[in-house]
């Protein structure tokens, strides 16, 4: 059996797919979103090197899209898995894109013409930017094919739009297919790599931080989009219509926290906060930037050095948790404890960034049904924590954040690791 299934096309799924495809195996890569790239594509710059994330991710995305050994199924999900190592039968449900992938040239004329243009919050931009009912998530999407969102498209949701409809009239390639339907296909594979990634902790579960109540309170991923050159503000830090001058970062939101039943550390928040604090300070040099933390976990290669650098740039680190973000009059305040001074303080802020942690994805029932177990932290868990790639099921291997939070280098490493185990199964042929 030369075929292998990879579930999820974030950086973990991309890396695992490329390794196995380069080795000559046929990879079926299933992604539920319209594009590959996952969370890494939403990131502006990466720590500690400050490389632009898309600069290092885009070539891998393009390789996935063009690789002769990779069959990419976007807008798709795995609905059924039968069989055993060396001989799995997999059912893939392909949701309608309502655009013919073979015909669409990605020119964007349809999106320009859409009557809903600029009216729908773009999930890729964490809702901070707007799109139409026909859209691409971001300019480097792979495949670069437009997608119609059936819930907001007037033709699909109400049965009528302006005459034409305008997108169809605008499409020179005649690629719009309002009658597109769900399709199911079956593939046979010898091994499976699970790379389903993570969801962000919902900070609304910590109401004391007032997320969703005040626009000045943002999540880190929202700040990532604000920092991004191709984001909704073209890289400017604009909060509530103006540049902030007093910025507070709050660590461990939804991590190391019994009150929300997330006892674990999310492993990346210390460093992405250090990076964002640097970026905000860089873009708004006069701003007073304060980071509040419990412990600084700068453990990767060059991380401690980066943390030292950020402190030297004038960013203030205060040990102690913030207990509340609130408004008095029209001013926003944070209340926290400075553990070194042993005192409680209140300070004004006009931008508060919540380092929301990582939680297990929703919609992973198919993996659970396979028999892959979960730990108390709800991430997948194999027979031993000492070999995180193993799922406990022969022929099924785990990669990236579905086995627990981790940064990009550790994710890429683990993805190659899962590929190694999967290739060993493929190489041995049909399991005895």
């Amino acid at each position: 059996m030369k075929d292998v299934l990879v579930i999820g096309a974030g950086i973990a799924g991309i890396q695992a797919s490329l390794d196995m495809a380069d080795a000559g195996f046929t990879v079926h890569l299933v992604e539920k979103e319209p594009t590959v790239g996952g969370h890494m594509a939403q990131t502006d710059k990466v720590f500690p090197t400050l490389d632009c994330s898309s600069c290092i991710l885009t070539p891998k995305m393009v390789s996935v899209g063009q690789h002769p050994n990779i069959r990419l199924y976007t807008l798709s999900e795995v609905t059924k898995i039968d069989g055993k190592a060396g001989d799995f039968t997999v059912e893939i449900l392909r949701h309608p894109r309502y655009v013919d992938e073979n015909a669409c040239t990605g020119c964007g004329a349809c999106a320009e013409a859409c009557v809903m243009k600029g009216r729908i919050p773009n999930a890729f931009d964490m809702g901070l930017g707007k799109r139409g009912a026909i859209y691409i998530s971001f300019p480097q999407a792979v495949p670069l094919k437009y997608t119609i969102d059936p819930e907001t498209c007037l033709t699909l949701s109400r049965g009528k739009c302006k005459k034409g409809p305008p997108c169809k009239l605008a499409c020179a390639a005649d690629a719009i297919r309002f009658d597109d339907t769900e399709k199911t296909l079956t593939v046979h594979v010898g091994a499976i790599v699970v790379a389903t990634g993570y969801d962000l902790f919902d900070p609304r579960l910590k109401p004391e931080y007032s997320y969703g109540k005040y626009p000045e309170v943002l999540t880190a991923l929202e700040v990532e989009r604000l920092c991004s050159a191709s984001g909704p503000t073209l890289g400017e830090i604009i909060v509530n219509g103006k540049k902030p001058s007093k910025v507070f970062f709050i660590h461990c939101v939804g991590s190391r926290d019994h009150t929300v039943d997330n006892l674990y550390c999310s492993r990346v928040c210390c460093m992405f906060t250090a990076k964002q604090a640097h970026l905000v300070k860089d873009k708004v040099p006069d701003a007073k930037v304060t980071v509040t933390y419990i412990d600084i976990r700068a453990f990767g290669k060059g991380y401690e050095e980066f943390y030292e650098r950020v402190q030297k740039e004038g960013i203030i680190y205060r040990r102690g948790v913030i207990s509340e973000v609130f408004k008095r009059g029209d001013k926003l305040y944070v209340r926290g404890e400075d553990a070194f001074l042993g005192e409680v303080y209140e300070e004004e802020a006009d931008m508060v960034v919540l380092a929301a942690g990582l939680v297990q994805r929703k919609g992973i029932d198919i993996i659970k049904k396979l028999g892959v177990k979960m730990g108390d932290d709800r991430f997948f868990s194999g027979p031993t924590p000492l070999d995180p790639v193993e799922s406990g099921i022969d022929g099924v291997y785990l990669a990236g954040c579905c086995v627990g939070p981790k940064d990009i280098p550790d994710t890429v490493v683990q993805a190659s690791g899962a590929a190694s185990r999967a290739m060993a199964v493929l190489a041995r042929g049909k399991a005895a």
């Binding site: 976990r297 924590p385 993805a415 190489a427």
Partner: protein, 650 residues
């Protein structure tokens, strides 16, 4: 000639500083440029597609892309050239990001400079020559250097994938550091329970050949076709005959400090490795054995009832043909004597974490009892970050494992001795690994004092160890008596890294560990094709992350072996035999050994597969007889002349 020029915005990375449209319009005025365009991201799918289509539609025969550093995307764009149907080397990338927009802020000046860089690239691309990549076959075998948990894991993966594996271990037994640990975090499973089955599988795998007491002494060749020379120190004991009865050890008159306990105990010059080290048969330490150093003693030979000891066993050498190499040489523990204020060498009850691990081990010198010099401690003080996050000893980095191995040791101690009074002094608790924060929570509930603040000194007062430390929460300096002090020593690059670096042409990062090719894109690859990194030789990490990276190295190493062939880059030196005088000066400067003098013809020859295209030879050649393809004098001078003319300094 029909040249196409493309100017990339790189989002706002370039476009916010350089007037991209002005550069594009300027490019149209350059000689033979028939088309110039700008685009938001040239490396994206539509950017690449645009170039591919234009090559056909406009009959382009040369392409210049003004974007980022060629180190980033030259390979990406060369593939586009091929897809468009022209030679991949009829291409030049002008770096207007790293060398322009990122280092200038004046829009006007930056735009002018970008124009000059594009003009220079156009001048050079005129003279570029078509080059062909070659292919070489691959020997389907791997050399794994290091028989710790990383090397064992990588070896097993490669063997499972069907390739021949040579596993090299410099010690007389497999197992590495993990074999010395008592329990693993966070599940407190015995290290042995994880390690022993892995060793068994590797040992019994038909695709694996294990060499213990083995060192790599020479390496020749290139990816897919390496020849490794391995020196094998004899064990001087027949592994299949030794029954571990211990009579040889009893008979040995020598007594030296034991490395396994870092000098807490002594050993003989013939040693029985403790399980799960494998093989656990006796091994002779020739460095200390009197047979070799002095009077030709053979007490062990006579003592062995099986006749298994053979002090005359000779040294051997093996040559191995392999396609790829996985480096898994592990780490070295920081020597706390370098922190004299901790008095590790002067106070006998100041020990390291790994030493405590041996004391807690049922196979260790005290069979798991906490006893030193006949005394059991009532109080213990653990000190974090010894040799980590410390500029004084030039180790600014975090060692990643010490917070957790300390928490684990505290738990082992408290489980066995619930009344032990334990204080842990730390800077930041870095219990980030899976299940580790939860573990730390549990340990805190075992009546352990975790104090945030570092220890400034360990000293003695009236014969009793004293610890002076800061409690940063109370903002106070404190002094208190203790019985044992345990130092959580961090990790350093392993011994022998310099030699291996030279043999394998590896790079090192500032912290001294081996450097990966790219921290995110290629985290286990190296700059030398066909050589990969597994485990702590690349940087400190725990067992789970080590195992992960070992699997990863196996995956990367398996790719060329599965593919069965490797591409050989054509940017290599070429010799003009008409001009070459055979002086061989170039041979001396070539660090890759790619140049050899053909003695008969008195001409240099280039091994194209070994040449890395560094250009040192062509710079050295007194008669310009050796040239680097794609970087020939006329090509470079055309580029430089254009820049000089543009800046008014012809």
């Amino acid at each position: 000639m029909r040249i196409g020029v493309y100017v990339c915005h790189c989002g706002i990375n370039i476009a916010s500083v350089v007037d991209v449209a002005a550069v594009r319009d300027y490019a149209k005025t350059l000689p033979d440029v028939v088309l110039a365009k700008d685009y938001q991201y040239m490396c994206s799918d539509p950017g690449q597609e645009m170039v591919r289509e234009d090559i056909g539609a406009h009959h382009l025969d040369r392409v210049v892309i003004a974007a980022c550093s060629p180190r980033m995307h030259e390979g990406t764009f060369r593939k586009v050239m091929e897809k468009g149907g022209i030679n991949a080397y009829y291409f030049e990338e002008a770096n207007i990001r790293e060398q322009c927009s990122w280092v200038h802020s004046d829009r006007e000046v930056a735009t002018e400079k970008a124009k000059e860089l594009v003009a220079a690239a156009v001048a050079r691309v005129h003279l570029q020559e078509a080059l062909q990549e070659k292919e070489a076959t691959v020997t389907p075998a791997v050399l794994v250097i290091g028989g710790g948990i990383a090397g064992l894991t990588a070896a097993k993966d490669m063997a499972d994938a069907g390739f021949a594996v040579y596993l090299l271990e410099k010690e007389a037994y497999l197992g590495g550091h993990v074999a010395k640990w008592t329990a693993t975090f966070p599940h407190m499973a015995k290290a042995e329970e994880f390690l022993a089955p892995l060793i068994r599988e590797v040992r019994s795998h038909r695709n694996v050949k294990v060499f213990t007491s083995a060192t790599l002494t020479d390496l020749e060749g290139f990816v897919g076709n390496y020849q490794a020379t391995v020196a094998l120190t004899p064990r001087r004991v027949d592994v299949s005959a030794c029954t571990r009865c211990g009579k040889c050890v009893e008979a040995c008159p020598v007594e030296v400090s034991d490395e396994e306990t870092w000098g807490m105990t002594t050993r003989k010059a013939i040693v029985l490795p403790s399980p799960p080290h494998d093989p656990s048969a006796a091994v002779v330490d020739a460095e200390h054995c009197l047979h070799f150093t002095d009077n030709g003693c053979d007490a062990c030979v006579s003592a062995c009832p099986e006749g298994a000891v053979n002090l005359k066993e000779p040294e051997r050498e093996e040559t191995l043909d392999i396609g790829v190499i996985i480096v898994a040489t592990g780490y070295h523990l920081f020597d706390p004597a370098r922190k004299p204020e901790l008095n590790y060498e002067r106070i006998p009850t100041v020990i390291t974490g790994p030493q405590l691990e041996r004391l807690l081990n049922e196979n260790g010198p005290t069979k798991g009892e906490l006893v030193l010099n006949g005394e059991r401690p009532q109080r213990m003080t653990f000190i974090h970050c010894v040799g980590s996050r410390d500029h004084q000893v030039d180790h600014p980095y975090c060692s990643r494992v010490c917070c957790m191995y300390t928490a684990k040791q505290v738990r082992l101690v408290k489980e066995r001795y619930p009344d032990m009074r334990v204080r842990v002094c730390y800077m930041d608790m870095r219990t980030f690994c899976r299940g580790c924060e939860e573990f730390y929570n549990e340990v805190q509930r075992m009546k352990v004092l975790y104090t945030r603040g570092m220890v400034s000194e360990v000293f003695t007062k009236e014969g009793r160890p004293m610890v002076r430390f800061e409690d940063t929460f109370l903002e106070e300096m404190m002094e208190e008596p203790t019985d044992w002090v345990v130092l959580a020593v961090g990790m350093e690059p392993p011994e022998g890294s310099d030699e291996l670096q030279n043999l394998l042409k590896l790079s090192r990062s500032a912290d001294g560990f081996f450097l990966e090719a790219h921290p995110k894109l290629r985290p286990v690859d190296t700059d030398t094709d066909g050589i990969f990194l597994a485990g702590c030789c690349q940087g400190p990490r725990d067992i789970a992350d080590t195992v992960s990276s070992a699997h990863a190295a196996a995956s990367r190493a398996a790719i060329p072996l599965f593919a069965g062939k490797v591409a050989i880059a054509p940017i290599v030196a070429e010799v003009d035999t008409e001009v070459c005088a055979g002086c061989a000066l170039c041979e001396e400067v070539c660090v890759y050994g790619a140049l050899k003098l053909d003695e008969a013809r008195k001409k240099m020859t280039v091994n194209e597969a070994v040449c890395k295209g560094c250009g040192a030879c062509s710079a050295t050649c007194p008669s310009s007889a050796i040239k680097l393809r794609n970087f020939k004098n006329n090509q470079l001078l055309a580029q430089i002349d254009t820049l000089c003319v543009a800046s008014g300094r012809p």
